[in-house]
């Protein structure tokens, strides 16, 4: 008998989707500023980019606060345990109809690969983008306080590197979101918050 668990709270879903929208807007306008496309004019791109950046910063500050007050930060503690099984599943098992090796619970929402990937985003990509972006934004005032080797060029390159890493993450993340039982299963969970477990899942879960 299927069992439903409430995996993602209202705040987590709001956070996820708002963040997703803002990151897409930032990627789109950012690459317009970069000169990669001309679908929006430079000034509009800059202004939208800046507004979206401030909103995302506000969201992140709030989300960080939320993670620490609720203890949800523990969801991102990395583990090497079963990492090999996860990799084996994605490069082999998924094609031969094996069951996903990870069983989701409210206490462990993310599989070991996800933990690692999200932690990477939170500890590497985000700070890179934040710091370089804020320096970029306040370059006029910060310039004087920075060592000479850090020019606008270096700040810009760091920010662009962050953007490319984020773009790569988004591509993989969006794709892997379609690897549930059906392409929309995981996406539906992220929208409704409810994960549906099959009976045998629970058994396996209990055996472990």
């Amino acid at each position: 008998m299927p069992r439903r668990i409430y995996l993602f709270t209202r705040f987590e879903r709001f956070w996820h989707w708002t963040q997703a929208a803002l990151i897409l807007v930032l990627l789109f306008t950012g690459f317009a500023i970069h000169g990669s496309h001309g679908l929006v004019d430079f000034r509009t791109a800059v202004e939208v980019h800046e507004i979206a950046a401030y909103l995302l910063i506000a969201l992140w500050v709030f989300a960080i606060f939320w993670h620490f007050t609720t203890g949800a930060w523990r969801q991102y503690i990395p583990t090497a345990q079963n990492l090999d099984r996860m990799i084996r599943y994605y490069v082999y098992g998924i094609f031969v109809g094996e069951e996903h090796p990870f069983r989701i619970t409210v206490e462990r929402k993310h599989n070991p690969l996800q933990r690692l990937a999200y932690l990477g985003v939170k500890l590497l990509i985000n700070p890179l983008i934040w710091v370089s972006g804020l320096i970029y934004l306040f370059w006029g005032r910060l310039q004087g306080y920075l060592p000479d080797v850090i020019g606008l060029q270096q700040v810009s390159l760091a920010h662009t590197l962050g953007a490319f890493l984020m773009l790569a993450f988004v591509i993989i993340h969006v794709y892997l979101a379609t690897t549930g039982r059906t392409p929309f299963e995981k996406i539906r969970v992220m929208i409704t918050g409810w994960e549906t477990h099959q009976d045998e899942d629970v058994k396996i879960e209990e055996q472990r």
Partner: protein, 532 residues
């Protein structure tokens, strides 16, 4: 009293005011009506007589004027520590003063400078009316700074006559200089309207707002001296002494007396943008790198008067089949060839070139040895890219082609006007013209000459457009934009690291490829496994 005016109602008062505005010429805030002064009742025979009358009251005026480049046509060059100025320098337009004085000095604030014997210490030679007339006064080329004292045919042989100047009338109507008075010389530098500067021409006598937001006759209606605030006849803001960067707030009286009052920042301060906190902040930060003029003068020669962008003297002197000089016009009716001067390239609505500039200009010394391969830089704008004291400035890039001595490898000054036997414009013979010019210059001339390309920069600083006409971000923040070749700045949209782009887009591409393959395999295996 006040009650009575009220009782009369506003309408007649307003009507009287309007009427007086229409009838009376613009008046200065002054306590002197010059037309009532005994000293100015005349009659005056010559300009010098007027000057003597002026100096009876304005005792220090001549001394003051004589200390300025308007009189000396010379200045102390801070770079070479020598003396430079119109008096000796060579340019790419009419080339040089020597031997042509009587022609060129129609724009000298003096009377009678025809050659190097002119007495620069004679106070009566100062021409007060050149700047202070309000009409009816013009100094003619060839008359060494004098207005016509007799009825003369002008131009000679044209059949048109000029009436003699009424010196008493001109003297009685003196006022502070208007745009027209300053412009009577500064708009016509280089031998014609708009020729030299590109941002100064006769369209600024009565400019619309779109041409010049400060001088607009339907707007602020600034005179030149509104910014070039003159004290003791010293006019600040000369292109010979440019304040390239002025990172200060507006000038405060009593505190900033030593600052140049002609900069934009003198009134606007260095953080003048205010539209929206984010955008204004960004624009104000740009002011650390750019001169205000770079964005706020989108193009120059905008008023319908073309400026010369190139002047090729080497083709001058061609005559028609009857042996007479001729003109050739373009399809807009503008002269593009003149036997006296050669070929021109004209420009209107010209996009400036942009250079780093810290206010120092290195001028080619008249005796400097040049590289005949050219282009010879007659002046160079100095400034280290990115330096605190430098800004990116808009300039007019003017190309000349002019005679040089192939033996001594120096630029040559021809006699173009005045002297009947040698003047190029009368005889169309280079050898005689160059020999006469160089003799007057006192520099050696081998007699061998050819033509060399020259390059000259002119600051673009007038014709400031209304804010809505200022450049947009994308005019520069793009590949191939206005600042394409300007070094020392990192500009999003123009600059990128190709390796990083290759890595980044490569990474994203590989990820895409990976998910497409992975996804394809999944779809395939799903079919094989029977829909699981």
């Amino acid at each position: 009293m006040i009650k009575r005016i009220r009782g009369m109602g506003c309408v007649p008062v307003l009507a009287a005011l309007l009427l007086s505005l229409v009838l009376a010429p613009p008046t200065e805030a002054t306590t002197v009506d010059h037309s009532k002064l005994d000293e100015l009742q005349g009659p005056f025979e010559r300009g010098e007589d007027v000057t003597r009358a002026c100096l009876r009251c304005h005792t220090e005026a001549a001394t003051q004027v004589m200390a300025t480049p308007h009189w000396t046509w010379e200045y102390e060059d801070p770079l070479s520590e020598g003396r430079l100025g119109k008096k000796t320098m060579i340019n790419g337009f009419c080339i040089g003063l020597q031997s042509n004085e009587a022609f060129c000095t129609s724009c000298h604030v003096g009377y009678g400078w025809e050659d190097d014997t002119f007495d620069f210490a004679d106070q009566s030679r100062v021409d007060c009316l050149a700047c202070h007339n309000t009409g009816g006064y013009s100094k003619l080329s060839g008359m060494a700074g004098h207005p016509p004292y007799e009825r003369i045919e002008w131009p000679a042989g044209s059949g048109r006559y000029l009436e003699p100047v009424d010196l008493a009338s001109v003297a009685q109507r003196v006022a502070l200089p208007s745009r027209e008075t300053c412009g009577s010389c500064h708009f016509y530098g280089g031998g014609g309207d708009g020729v030299k500067h590109g941002d100064l021409d006769s369209s600024l006598v009565d400019p619309p707002k779109s041409l010049d937001v400060h001088m607009a006759s339907d707007g602020l209606n600034f005179r030149c001296i509104e910014c070039h605030v003159t004290e003791n006849h010293v006019v600040p803001g000369s292109r010979l002494d440019i304040t390239a960067a002025d990172p200060h707030g507006p000038i405060m009286r009593g505190r900033d007396e030593d600052r140049n009052p002609a900069t934009c920042q003198a009134c606007h301060g260095d953080r003048p943008h205010s539209q929206g906190p984010m955008h204004a902040q960004r624009l104000n930060d740009h002011a650390r790198t750019l001169a205000c003029q770079s964005c706020h003068i989108p193009t120059y020669a905008r008023g319908g008067v073309a400026t010369k962008m190139r002047w090729d003297w080497s083709t001058a002197g061609r005559l028609d089949d009857d042996g007479r000089p001729f003109l050739r016009h373009d399809d807009k009716g503008r002269v593009i060839y003149d036997s006296r001067k050669g070929d021109y390239t004209l420009g209107e609505n010209v996009v400036p070139a942009y250079v780093w500039f810290d206010g120092r200009v290195r001028y080619l010394q008249p005796d400097a040895v040049i590289d005949p391969e050219g282009p010879v830089r007659i002046n160079e704008y100095l400034g280290r890219p990115g330096a605190e004291n430098a800004r990116i400035w808009p300039v007019k890039r003017y190309e000349g082609r002019q005679p040089y001595d192939t033996v001594h490898r120096t630029l040559l000054v021809p006699n173009v006007a005045v002297h009947a036997e040698t003047a190029f414009w009368l005889n169309f013979e280079w050898p005689a013209a160059l020999r006469a010019g160089m003799e007057a210059s006192g520099r050696p001339y081998s007699g061998e000459f050819d033509f060399v390309d020259t390059l000259m920069l002119w600051p673009i600083t007038h014709m400031v457009a209304p804010a809505e006409q200022a450049l947009q971000c994308a005019d520069c923040h793009t590949v191939g934009g206005r600042l394409e070749g300007v070094p020392g700045i990192w500009m999003p949209g123009r600059d990128r690291n190709r390796l990083l782009d290759l890595f980044g887009f490569g990474l994203a591409g590989l990820m895409l490829l990976g998910v497409v393959i992975h996804g394809g395999l999944r779809v395939g295996s799903r079919r094989r496994l029977g829909g699981r």
